[in-house]
């Protein structure tokens, strides 16, 4: 890449494609054939619990780890066997990996120095990048003299200083405190928009992924179990595992049964806006927001009432299931009360009891 392109956003480049990526660590298979398509300019999140293979996938994209099988394509070029430095990608590590013996300016300028960019041009690019993340007053400090948030920005500036075709971010916000995390999340999104660079973002925080990403892939046990926009994944989780992972609090999951064309939980019929499909045992999923306290329905007992100010979360137990319901108004119930819960018929998700897949 020539350094002249550092001035303007790159558009139309940064398509990433993974084809059947397999990664093994000894006898353990970390990735079982990952297929993934990231579009140019997209903010794409790899979401999953720890150990699900999302970071390994990112590292394979970066070229830091070889894949045992499959291909990595960037802008339709096979880069599977290319060195990290030959892929035109920049990465922000979870630990930031700032060079402790260099100043902030030297850190940010390092990628340019390595390709022999002239001194004045580097200095200008460093100032620009630092200004974009608001650390241009800290250029002479060393990483050890920066706060966590400033270090994170420095790492970000080092990534954006040369305009790569792809940003790889590995849990970049996880070392920040809660408030800063929310602020930085918004800024990161704006920054990515203004730069227009394709971004692949690894996180285990579903809320983070939901708010920041254009699209996301949900990883479970070394497989992608669902890909889509945050809204799609939220509205139609592909499996019990995804349903139980996305949303805060996540979806309530209950054992149910379809018999004679009707759905029942603990023997109590549950209304649906559609036919329930094949007879047999199912897993019923309902988001906390779609559960109501009602005069009739599944009998339950109130376990806990948590007020969050603008909303209330009520934990009830019904037929051996712990169910959370979320409501904007504080219901007139107390712990220990016997109540009934009902579900909005159009918000009931059904999953196959044996495969866990959506039906």
């Amino acid at each position: 890449m020539d350094s002249a392109s550092a001035a303007s956003p790159r558009t139309g480049v940064g398509a990433v494609r993974l084809e059947h990526i397999v990664k093994r660590h000894g006898s353990f298979t970390a990735l079982h054939g990952i297929d993934l398509d990231v579009r140019p300019g997209e903010f794409f999140a790899l979401l999953g619990p720890s150990g699900s293979g999302k970071t390994t996938t990112l590292r394979i994209l970066a070229g830091l780890e070889p894949a045992d099988d499959g291909r990595v394509l960037m802008d339709d070029v096979d880069v599977t066997s290319r060195e990290p430095g030959e892929r035109d990608v920049a990465m922000v590590f979870q630990s930031y990996a700032l060079y402790p013996h260099m100043t902030v300016a030297e850190n940010i300028g390092f990628p340019l120095r390595m390709i022999g960019t002239p001194r004045e041009e580097t200095a200008r690019a460093v100032r620009d990048a630092a200004a974009k993340v608001h650390i241009d007053h800290l250029l002479d400090r060393r990483p050890g003299q920066l706060s966590g948030g400033q270090q994170q920005r420095c790492a970000l500036a080092r990534a954006i200083v040369r305009k790569p075709r792809l940003f790889l971010l590995d849990e970049p916000l996880s070392n920040l405190d809660a408030k800063l995390r929310l602020e930085t999340r918004v800024e990161l999104r704006k920054l990515q928009r203004s730069l227009g660079v394709t971004t692949v973002y690894v996180t285990h925080d579903q809320e983070e992924a939901m708010t920041i990403a254009d699209r996301l892939a949900v990883f479970m046990d070394g497989r992608i179990v669902q890909t889509g926009t945050p809204d799609e994944v939220f509205a139609r989780p592909a499996s019990v595992a995804v349903a139980g992972f996305i949303g805060s609090p996540p979806m309530n999951l209950m054992q149910g049964e379809v018999r004679n064309g009707a759905l029942a939980i603990a023997g109590v019929p549950v209304a649906l806006d559609r036919p329930p499909g094949a007879e047999g045992r199912v897993v019923v999923g309902v988001r906390p927001g779609a559960v109501q306290l009602a005069p009739a329905g599944v009998p339950a007992r109130v376990e806990l009432v948590e007020s969050l100010g603008d909303m209330t979360i009520v934990d009830v137990s019904a037929g051996g299931h712990a169910i959370k319901l979320r409501t904007p108004i504080r219901p007139p119930v107390r712990e220990g009360d016997g109540v009934h819960v009902a579900f909005s018929p159009n918000a009931v998700h059904l999953f196959d009891a044996s495969t866990g897949l959506r039906r």
Partner: protein
């Protein structure tokens, strides 16, 4: 608590005394005349003289050539050791080599072997190669123990540098060599300094190999000191002056590198125990 402090201070003083008294004694002796040295009871108050130092430096039995000899052997051994040890230690710290554990044990084992057991094979080998009483010969022999030691010490330092550092550098298009040069080496500067000092001092203080494998041409100062001990007499004051001169660089380097050395020792200890 107080008693403990007193006891610890006492114990520390005792240990210190064991090390300091002989050096202090030698220091005093080096300023005495040979007569005062042998006076009994020992004289505490005496007229200090620099005659011994003059004699040792510029007299007929000057140790200047021997100091030069020590410097050449120690310097060469140190430079060569570090030249090989740094990349070797980096590789050992970073690569998953199949023989890593066995190799580590071998390195430790070389530190445990009594050097005297190797004297004869080394002598015979050097004799065959014509390396006796040569700088190349003695330096090579020094490498056999300093190189494993230096690698072993340096590995701990390299392992302390997070792997992400060079991954970041690789993504920043530095390549392996420049990642090592610009990113990794500056972070192990302390370790390099400590190891260099240790290697140099070990070589500088070495006596056994020097006396057996050296000769008239290559005679380090540790060996030359024996010129002052002969069948007829022992020139204690001159011996002490020579010893002081031989010790001077050791003490100066030790003071300069004190902070790093203490840290280096603990790093090596902890990491060595874990491996």
């Amino acid at each position: 608590m107080k008693l403990r402090t007193v006891a610890l201070t006492g114990a520390a003083s005792l240990v210190l005394a064991v090390w300091v008294v002989p050096v202090a004694w030698a220091l005093l002796t080096s300023f005495k005349t040979e007569r005062d040295v042998l006076a009994y009871p020992p004289v505490v108050v005496f007229a200090p003289t620099l005659a011994n130092y003059r004699e040792v430096l510029f007299g007929s039995a000057s140790i200047l050539p021997n100091l030069a000899s020590s410097l050449v052997v120690s310097g060469a051994a140190t430079i060569l050791t570090m030249l090989f040890a740094i990349p070797a230690a980096y590789a050992l710290a970073r690569l998953a080599l199949p023989m890593k554990r066995a190799g580590g044990f071998y390195v430790l084992a070389t530190q445990m072997l009594p050097p005297v057991g190797l004297i004869i094979p080394y002598y015979l080998i050097l004799q065959k190669l014509g390396g006796l009483d040569s700088y190349a010969g003695l330096t090579t022999i020094y490498l056999t123990f300093s190189l494993p030691f230096a690698i072993w010490l340096m590995v701990s330092y390299f392992e302390d540098v997070p792997l992400e550092m060079e991954e970041a550098a690789l993504l920043d298009r530095a390549g392996r060599l420049r990642a090592l040069w610009y990113v990794i080496l500056p972070q192990v500067r302390g370790g390099i300094a400590v190891t260099t000092v240790f290697v140099f001092l070990n070589a500088w203080n070495e006596f056994l190999f020097a006396v057996v494998l050296g000769g008239n041409r290559v005679r380090p100062v540790t060996v030359a000191m024996f010129n002052f001990i002969s069948v007829e007499q022992t020139l204690w004051a001159k011996l002490a002056a020579g010893a002081m001169l031989a010790m001077a660089p050791v003490i100066v380097i030790g003071l300069l590198a004190q902070r790093h050395i203490v840290k280096g020792l603990t790093v090596g200890a902890v990491k060595g125990a874990r491996r």
